[in-house]
């Protein structure tokens, strides 16, 4: 178990390095530079050059990259050009809003997805199963930004039930979290359905029936726990993707989280902030994936207690 954690953390460091490098290269490939944007259209080229020197942007890209890697190794993520604050402080300031949003969306997706999946797997190819399958295809096919706008049109513009943007009350959370959770719910539902159907074929299910249990009792008493492993895995893996989805949803609903920060910072070529945010997200994804792996052992006693037969 400890060996697994160490191995996975080593791989995780490699993933972080890849994410940082990719982000660094992408930002430098994009046209425009921070000095021009910060000084505005009226600045003289001498002023721009002076600022570029001050920011270290006049050096070669590879030299900048090495300096940057060295800074990260010392946990120095640079300063935000825009806010004149350490980049990581700016990022962490926005982290809480994103965490609230993604955690709420995950809870919605886990509960709704598992329920839908179990309903569908209860009688494979039954009416309920076909309904749920259709629903999941629909949910996965609808783009998040469109769903978000439609929800705003319906619940804010027409029915005046929910606020259309920003934060504050729990009501503010409902639409962004639901929007973010819909495609996630569909994935969880499909994995849960497959897993329930598979587990229903296992011989121990026959044993449970031979005790006189009803189909529902067999499902809740024996099948559910054994079908959870793939569901937990997909939740762990998809929470990472959820952070990506949050970028779009946060912009639709003006949610002041990491996602909207990244978009603003890219527009302003605030390199350090974008890089710090991407690094943080990558780290969160690595940790989530590791937790998903470790959860196997909690769900399956064969892994937890070892095969000491």
């Amino acid at each position: 178990m400890t060996g697994l954690v160490i191995r996975r953390l080593a791989v995780g460091m490699f993933v972080l390095w890849g994410a940082v490098t990719l982000m660094f290269a992408l930002l430098r490939m994009a046209p425009g530079d921070p000095a021009t944007l910060m000084l505005g259209p009226d600045a003289t080229s001498a002023e721009v050059d002076a600022l570029r020197t001050e920011l270290g942007l006049d050096r070669g890209v590879f030299a900048q990259y090495l300096t940057y890697l060295g800074q990260i190794a010392r946990l120095d993520f640079g300063d935000s050009y825009r806010f004149n604050l350490p980049a990581m402080d700016v990022v962490l300031d926005r982290l809480q809003a994103t965490v609230e949003l993604t955690v709420t969306a995950t809870v919605i997706a886990a509960v709704a997805g598992l329920t839908l999946g179990m309903l569908a797997g209860y009688r494979p190819n039954g009416r309920l199963d076909r309904t749920v399958s259709g629903l999941t295809i629909l949910l996965q096919g609808m783009p998040t930004f469109w769903v978000g706008i439609m929800l705003v049109l319906l619940f804010s513009a027409t029915l005046h039930l929910l606020p259309s943007s920003s934060v504050g009350t729990p009501q503010h959370m409902i639409m962004p979290a639901v929007t973010l959770s819909l495609p996630f719910t569909a994935i969880v539902a499909r994995i849960a359905r497959t897993s329930v159907v598979d587990s229903m074929q296992e011989p121990y299910v026959q044993t449970a029936y031979s005790k006189g249990l009803s189909r529902f009792q067999v499902l809740t008493g024996h099948v559910l726990r054994n079908s959870l492993t793939p569901v937990v895995t997909i939740i762990g893996l998809q929470m990472g993707a959820l952070l990506g989805g949050a970028v779009i949803v946060e912009n639709v609903f003006a949610w002041p989280g990491l996602g909207s920060l990244i978009v603003e910072s890219v527009a302003n070529r605030d390199y350090s902030v974008v890089q710090a945010a991407v690094l943080l997200i990558a780290a969160v994804v690595v940790v989530l994936n590791l937790l998903a792996d470790l959860s196997y052992s909690l769900l399956d006693p064969r892994i937890r207690t070892g095969g000491n037969r």
């Binding site: 296992e202 121990y204 044993t207 031979s210 005790k211 006189g212 249990l213 726990r225």
Partner: protein, 325 residues
């Protein structure tokens, strides 16, 4: 044999499964009984329908299957009983032991929880359930049951798992236990012990058992009555000793000849010529005729009906009298 009627009586029991075009009778008009306090063995090659019959008795056939004929538990017709009634019988009147105890036990639950589940659902308080589970595991020959009931199935050896499965089947104090190849997945040395355990529990509790096996030696040790199946039909049935002592069907004779005699010089046993008939595509007439040394024209055309050759002995062979010992 007791004067009372049999615990289980099947007459013209048929199970149809969907075939290529029509519903095919994989079990075709099977008759058998399980006496009170006795063990009936169902023997036949793989695909002969042994397990299908056991599934029909406990009422756990695949959803696509249809079942017809008569199947009585004491005086109650099971095939027309409602699903709720059948469910209540399961575990309490009719229990089942499965072939592979590792996959038949839930990997995520402790042994004690699985063995005691039926009692817990019957509303017994927890302390009593635990005491009963310890007693059941002890009766099934599991040492240190107080501790072992907290183990998971993967922490048990194959033999111990099957003992746990037996304890699980006994939990509801059933009148009939269906044992589907209960020793096939076990080591040879363990097989004999499990069989002795089953036989002794059956005798001690006075319960009945329907034992499914392809192994004649298992049958000769444990079952009082024998039903020989071929391609979903009964070839012959009767008391085990008499059936094996003097077969009245060429198939039984061939089965006996194919069992290697361990202690005698290694004369290769007579294997059955040809492959077992598939119940989904049964040969015409007597299903055994393509492999039968006594087969004639009549056997290819006319399905033989079971005849009472001598009291308590039935054979479904047109030429049962010609089967030499």
């Amino acid at each position: 044999m007791t004067a009372a009627g049999p615990l289980i009586e099947a007459r013209d029991l048929s199970v149809h499964l969907p075939g290529a075009e029509t519903m095919t009778p994989v079990i075709d008009k099977v008759d058998f009984t399980v006496g009170e306090g006795r063990t009936t063995g169902l023997i036949g090659e793989s695909g002969s329908g042994k397990t299908m019959i056991a599934s029909a008795v406990i009422g756990l056939l695949p959803e696509a299957a249809t079942v017809s004929g008569e199947l009585r538990l004491r005086d109650e017709e099971l095939l027309t009983a409602g699903e709720k009634r059948r469910r209540n019988l399961r575990g309490h009147e009719i229990a089942m032991i499965f072939q592979d105890p590792l996959s038949a036990l839930n990997p995520a639950q402790r042994i004690g929880r699985q063995v005691g589940e039926i009692l817990r659902r019957d509303g017994l308080p927890r302390g009593e359930v635990d005491r009963a589970v310890v007693g059941l595991l002890d009766q099934a020959g599991i040492p240190d049951p107080e501790r072992r009931m907290r183990a998971y199935p993967h922490q048990f050896s194959g033999g111990m798992r099957q003992r746990a499965m037996i304890a699980l089947a006994l939990a509801g104090s059933p009148s009939l236990v269906l044992a589907d190849e209960p020793t096939t997945a076990l080591d040879v040395t363990v097989q004999a012990r499990i069989l002795r355990l089953l036989a002794s529990i059956q005798a001690a509790r006075g319960m009945s058992m329907l034992l499914v096996s392809h192994d004649l030696r298992v049958m000769s040790h444990v079952s009082h009555d024998l039903v020989v199946l071929y391609a979903g039909r009964v070839c012959e049935r009767g008391p085990t000793k008499r059936v094996l002592g003097r077969p009245r069907h060429p198939y039984t004779k061939a089965l006996l000849a194919s069992v290697p005699a361990v202690r005698e010089a290694s004369v290769p046993a007579d294997p059955l010529p040809g492959a077992p008939a598939n119940p989904m595509a049964r040969p015409s007439g007597c299903a055994f005729h393509p492999r039968c040394p006594l087969a004639r024209e009549r056997c290819k055309v006319e399905v033989p009906l079971a005849r009472e050759i001598e009291p308590g002995r039935f054979s479904a062979c047109h030429f049962a009298e010609e089967v030499t010992p």
